[in-house]
């Protein structure tokens, strides 16, 4: 049934775009795609989530990246970053920095607090974009299958801190991320992220409301909740991301249960990130500059 009026237009970019969009839609509607055991849907991530985030990354936050050569070419790596910015925007921008900067376009598999997985919709978006619950079994499973894993040991202490504490790293919890790296012999890549602190500066925390809503904090920023939904627009700060040289752990596998080794290593990672943050801040005198 070849209609002579209908021909392929080889080389026509619009024809290719339409054809690939339609076939994408068909695959999605008939369920013909793969998800891994964590629920990661690479097709949806590459074609829907990342393009949206990429616009924010380039046009809104004007992100610059340094030290990409410190990411492992292939095989496992544990990327440990500072956390800030009221919502976990820094984690999303970090995934774009890794995916678009890495020669093999690797996906960063994020570890999130269990609160994320309690919330309908958000939990599923997180899983489909490659995230999972921050717990040792999941971290070790991802690392032993050679994935690049991203973790923020400060957790809510980092994202929910007051604006006056910006770029001051909070406590690093129990160092579970270090023991996961040691057990699997994975190198740790510290990463410093500058810019997320200014997107929603927290000036106050409505604790009673947070308790009522079972949230770790209820932020008050210059625009939220005063401007309603408009207050959800992040301020356009300038972002800098720097990956630091990897810390090898292969020779420490036997010390995975030694609290001294774990605390020292966690401290070393924390210090590295803190110092890199100071360097980056010197490079960026104006938080909202070009």
């Amino acid at each position: 049934m070849n209609d002579p009026a209908v021909e392929d237009w080889p080389g026509d970019p619009w024809d290719q775009r339409v054809a690939s969009a339609l076939s994408f839609l068909r695959r999605r509607l008939s369920g013909q795609y793969e998800v891994d055991e964590f629920g990661f849907d690479p097709e949806l991530t590459d074609h829907v989530f990342y393009p949206v985030l990429r616009r924010l990354y380039h046009d809104w936050f004007r992100t610059e990246v340094f030290g990409l050569e410190n990411l492992p070419d292939d095989g496992a790596g544990l990327v440990v970053g500072n956390h800030s910015g009221t919502v976990a925007m820094d984690a999303l921008m970090l995934s774009i920095a890794v995916h678009d900067g890495h020669p093999k376009a690797r996906h960063l598999r994020l570890l999130g607090a269990d609160l994320v997985f309690r919330v309908p919709v958000l939990s599923e978006l997180t899983r489909k974009s490659g995230g999972t619950v921050a717990c040792n079994p999941d971290a070790e499973r991802l690392l032993s299958s050679g994935e690049l894993v991203g973790v923020f040991p400060e957790g809510f202490k980092g994202v929910g801190k007051h604006y006056r504490d910006r770029y001051k790293l909070q406590r690093f919890g129990r160092g579970g991320f270090v023991s996961a790296a040691l057990r699997t012999g994975t190198p740790i890549v510290p990463v410093a992220i500058v810019g997320a602190e200014e997107i929603y500066p927290i000036l106050g925390d409505l604790k009673p409301l947070a308790r009522l809503l079972k949230l770790p904090y209820f932020p008050v920023t210059p625009t939220f909740p005063w401007l309603g939904p408009l207050g959800l627009v992040p301020l356009p700060s300038k972002w800098l991301i720097e990956f630091c040289p990897p810390i090898p752990t292969a020779d420490l596998v036997d010390y995975a249960d030694d609290p001294m080794v774990i605390f020292n290593l966690a401290d070393q990672v924390r210090e590295t990130i803190q110092q890199t943050l100071h360097h980056l801040l010197e490079k960026r005198p104006d938080p909202f500059g070009r």
Binding site: V6, V35, G39, P120
Partner: protein, 351 residues
């Protein structure tokens, strides 16, 4: 060749799984005598399978005497009910928990018993938001599940741990099965996917794993004729998201607000309407994925993948699909051709 195994007792032969396992064992010449225990009379359809199987009508109270008299060498415990129909939740718990307790008490007394094979479920891992994505056999449940069946499973496995301590010389195999699917399986879940409109939980897209029911039979058969003491996850490799499974089956998802579903499930349970209980709801909020490395290494047997098992189910139930993959492909072709035709005309006019 002389039979390697003497008397094999199978419980729950009035149901699909028990009947098929008993029939397979009876057809295996390594097995001497197969005796099926069940309080209920099997239906005519099931009865046809049970040619070489001796049948004993025994309720929970008379099981100890029967097991003792038979001098069983192997006991295969499959008599668990997964949903409260017909007799309600109380009868279900009585059957699962008290029934297993009494059977294990009888097994403890049986002096010639060499092996115990028990059916369990991956529901044993409970359901919590702090759960790891993939359960290994050593994962402890973090939260007691809401569903009745899952709680029964936790109780039953608890009794089995006690049995292992008291009779360490008996080889005890526990198979934690993922939900069954396949062209012949008839379970709450297969009935769920067979409907054209499928209710789901709003904002949740759980990761599911299935086990082809024939692979469940194979694993049980091997557990009886080979020696594999221990606890094993049995599931098809790979994962389907619920939304993906619904699309592959050509059904339409109808998302429902979760608190409403919980209330409906509780109400349905109370009124004994319960086809879908809190067990299904827990699964549809949290999903459940297990690691089967231990099974594959120990048994040298790999169940067909979750996707393949689900495909087998779809082929059987294709008649109730609303949208098929072929229709979508035709639509794709038609739209693409349409757009090309319009553009070709436009190009001709402008030139």
């Amino acid at each position: 060749m002389t039979a390697a195994l003497g008397v094999v007792v199978v419980t729950g032969i009035s149901r699909y799984l028990g009947a098929h396992v008993a029939a397979r064992l009876a057809a295996d010449d390594r097995v001497g005598r197969v005796v099926g225990l069940d309080p209920n009379e099997p239906t005519a359809e099931i009865q046809r399978l049970l040619g070489g199987v001796e049948q004993v009508r025994a309720d929970a109270a008379s099981v100890p005497t029967v097991v003792a008299e038979l001098d069983a060498e192997v006991v295969v415990h499959l008599s668990l009910v997964t949903s409260p129909e017909p007799g309600g939740r109380a009868a279900m718990k009585e059957h699962n928990v008290i029934g297993t307790m009494q059977l294990l008490a009888a097994c403890q007394q049986a002096s010639h018993l060499r092996k115990l094979v028990m059916r369990s479920s991956t529901a044993a891992y409970g359901a919590s938001f702090r759960d790891p994505a993939v359960f290994t056999e050593d994962t402890e449940p973090r939260q007691v599940p809401r569903g009745g069946f899952a709680r029964d499973i936790l109780d039953v496995e608890g009794y089995l741990r006690g049995f292992r301590r008291r009779r360490p010389e008996v080889s005890a195999t526990v198979l934690r099965f993922a939900p069954f699917i396949g062209s012949t399986a008839d379970t709450t879940l297969t009935r769920y996917f067979a409907q054209p409109l499928v209710p789901t939980v709003l904002g949740r897209d759980p990761r599911l794993q299935f086990l082809h029911v024939d692979d469940a039979l194979e694993a049980l058969h091997r557990s009886v004729v080979e020696d594999h003491p221990g606890t094993y996850n049995v599931a098809g490799a790979g994962v389907l998201a619920l939304s993906q499974a619904i699309r592959r089956a050509g059904r339409l998802a109808v998302p429902v607000f979760e608190p409403g579903l919980s209330a409906a499930a509780t109400l349905a349970g109370g009124l004994r309407l319960g086809r879908y209980g809190l067990d299904q709801l827990d699964l549809f909020v949290h999903g459940r994925v297990v690691d089967t490395t231990r099974l594959v290494e120990e048994y040298g047997f790999e169940p067909r993948t979750t996707a393949a098992a689900f495909d087998d189910f779809i082929r059987r139930h294709a008649d109730r699909s609303l949208v098929t993959a072929d229709q979508l492909a035709t639509a794709e072709r038609a739209i693409l051709d349409g757009i090309r035709r319009v553009r070709a005309t436009a190009a001709k006019e402008s030139s």
